[in-house]
């Protein structure tokens, strides 16, 4: 891995603006800091400016103003050093469809000045870790969508980056492969690599990330820790799987109960309300609860609320 003092933030974005030649103002003064070792979520609706921000960080997009520092190295004035630290998994498939995964990984290492022997060893290691080794010599256009996504992660690991940026890495991937990808990324983060993740699967961000920035219309609308953000959620909805939901439901002052079907009840309640009184009330009505779960992803509710608030304010 590349060396940089541990105290230096992995990423510092300061006053970043981007106006495209078409006149579209994609970023309107974004500033954020990602500490070294963090697992960081960068969320926002489509068109919020996430990909533009990632494009500028990885030097694929020229900023209009502002600066980006990767472990203290400016993307504008010290691009080579900054890029040495980054591994990028882009949103769109962007490898040569006529090459093999092995060649793609070895070549990628070569672009970072890594000798072929070392590159071959790393390619084997990461292709094996991402369950792609048996396809290492297949032409990439024959790979499934999930394999192509995993190949982009393996490729991004070839320079063993200190900052790994994943732009919707699990889009269109089935849950089994998605979980294996999470496991791999978590292990990379545990080993010290800072990870920035953008995703539309908010459950993914909630489960993996410790800190979060939500951007919309080119501006930061929330920037905090995942725990603090989730604490802002004052209402939760629980789904109860019950033996028989056809009886009369109890009436509670700050709980809204609704029958979904013969065996399912939903309860929308304040986070301040304890569950014991609800269980007692259900029990008093002879309703036996077999199991329960959160109805919606908590982060998803907050996300929608924040984005809607942003739209209302605009």
């Amino acid at each position: 891995m590349s060396n940089a003092p541990a105290s230096v933030p992995a990423l510092e974005v300061a006053g970043l603006r981007k106006t495209y030649a078409t006149g579209v103002e994609a970023l309107k003064g974004i500033s954020l800091t990602v500490q070294a070792g963090d697992f960081y979520a960068l969320l926002g609706p489509n068109g919020a400016g996430k990909s533009t921000l990632i494009g500028i960080i990885s030097s694929l997009v020229n900023p209009s103003s502002g600066d980006v520092r990767v472990f203290g190295h400016s993307v504008r004035t010290d691009r080579g050093q900054a890029m040495q630290m980054i591994g990028l998994v882009p949103q769109e498939i962007n490898f040569n469809l006529f090459e093999t995964p092995l060649d793609i990984c070895i070549n990628q290492a070569g672009f970072y000045g890594i000798e072929r022997g070392v590159a071959r060893e790393r390619a084997e290691r990461y292709l094996k870790e991402l369950a792609l080794w048996d396809k290492s010599r297949a032409v990439t256009r024959t790979l499934s969508g999930g394999m192509k996504r995993r190949l982009m992660i393996a490729r991004a690991m070839m320079n063993e980056p200190r900052l790994l940026i994943l732009d919707e890495p699990t889009a269109g991937v089935d849950i089994e492969i998605r979980r294996s990808m999470w496991k791999f990324i978590e292990s990379i983060n545990a080993a010290g690599t800072t990870v920035i993740l953008t995703t539309h699967y908010l459950e993914e961000a909630e489960q993996l990330c410790r800190n979060i920035t939500i951007i919309d219309h080119g501006r930061v609308i929330e920037n905090t820790s995942m725990r603090k953000l989730l604490a802002k959620l004052d209402v939760e909805t629980f789904v109860f799987d019950v033996a028989d939901a056809n009886g009369e439901l109890p009436q509670l002052s700050d709980v809204r109960l609704a029958r979904v079907d013969d065996h399912t009840i939903e309860a929308e309640m304040s986070r301040a309300h304890d569950l014991n009184s609800l269980f007692a009330a259900l029990s008093a009505r002879g309703i036996t609860v077999r199991s329960m779960r959160n109805k919606a992803n908590r982060l998803e509710e907050l996300f929608v609320r924040l984005v809607d608030a942003g739209k209302a304010a605009a």
């Binding site: 030649a21 030097s59 020229n62 080579g80 890029m83 070569g110 672009f111 000045g113 890594i114």
Partner: protein
């Protein structure tokens, strides 16, 4: 990246280019072999046999038409393939977006440019050797001046690789990389003294021909192989070197500004 890292990166691009050239040999190496064989049969044997000698060498011996056009045909193949290699390869990388693999790496612009130019020059060299081998079936080829032959080949291949790179940078669709070879490169090559001696042209065509840079490359290469040239070699080298410097500077400027690559 340090110097060693840059060399590894440059070698990676060049190696990838060679693998690509050999993988699609039916598109890269076979067509010039077929086309040039036809040129030698039609212009060299069938028409050339009726023309007789077209020039004399330093010893005063006559040079047959097929012998005269052989260096030009080799140079024509080198020019077209160096240009075609870089346009199709770099535009293909842009089109499939895997050019981003290089753009997000710490490689400096000159390494990317040098890697692609090296690939184009190597294809020019491979094709040049193939056409040279074909020409030996139709005529004898001397190697009058090996250093002039080699340096002219290198300079011409680099010039057209750089021109092809500019074309690929600005191209937005496949049509854009076909227009220049069809409407600019091929006419300039045909009018660049491959098939005739420009010294024998009447005014003002003779003077106009001297504005064609390919004329200098073809004649310098012909001098290297046969020892005869229609133009002054000093001018040929000055013009070729000037083209290399101007084009390389322009390509590096395009790359560092991200024209056609970074939004």
């Amino acid at each position: 990246m340090n110097a060693q890292g840059n060399l590894v990166a440059l070698g990676t691009i060049a190696r990838r280019e060679i693998v690509r050239i050999l993988r699609i040999w039916a598109q890269t190496l076979l067509p010039p072999a077929v086309t040039m064989t036809l040129y030698f049969i039609i212009f060299g044997n069938l028409i050339g046999s009726r023309i007789g000698t077209i020039a004399t060498d330093n010893s005063g011996a006559g040079i047959s038409y097929v012998e005269y056009i052989a260096p030009g045909l080799i140079m024509m193949a080198v020019i077209q393939n160096a240009y075609g290699n870089i346009t199709s390869s770099f535009f293909g990388a842009k089109f499939q977006r895997f050019v981003e693999e290089m753009l997000v790496s710490p490689m400096p612009s000159w390494t990317i440019l040098a890697g692609y130019v090296a690939g184009a020059v190597l294809r020019g060299f491979m094709v040049g050797l193939i056409v040279l081998a074909i020409s030996l079936f139709f005529t004898k080829i001397h190697l009058y001046h090996p250093i002039i032959t080699l340096t002219t080949f290198l300079l011409a291949a680099v010039i057209f690789a750089l021109l092809g790179f500019v074309n690929a940078i600005y191209a937005r669709k496949f049509d854009d990389i076909a227009i220049i070879p069809t409407f600019v490169l091929t006419p300039l090559t045909y009018l660049g003294g491959v098939f005739y001696n420009v010294a024998q042209l009447p005014s003002p065509w003779k003077e106009i021909s001297h504005l064609n840079p390919i004329l200098y490359m073809v004649n310098a290469f012909r001098y290297g192989l046969l020892g005869v040239s229609d133009i002054d070699l000093t001018w040929a080298y000055l013009i070729m070197l000037a083209f290399v410097v101007v084009l390389a500077t322009y390509c590096l400027s395009l790359l560092s500004r991200g024209v056609g690559l970074r939004s």
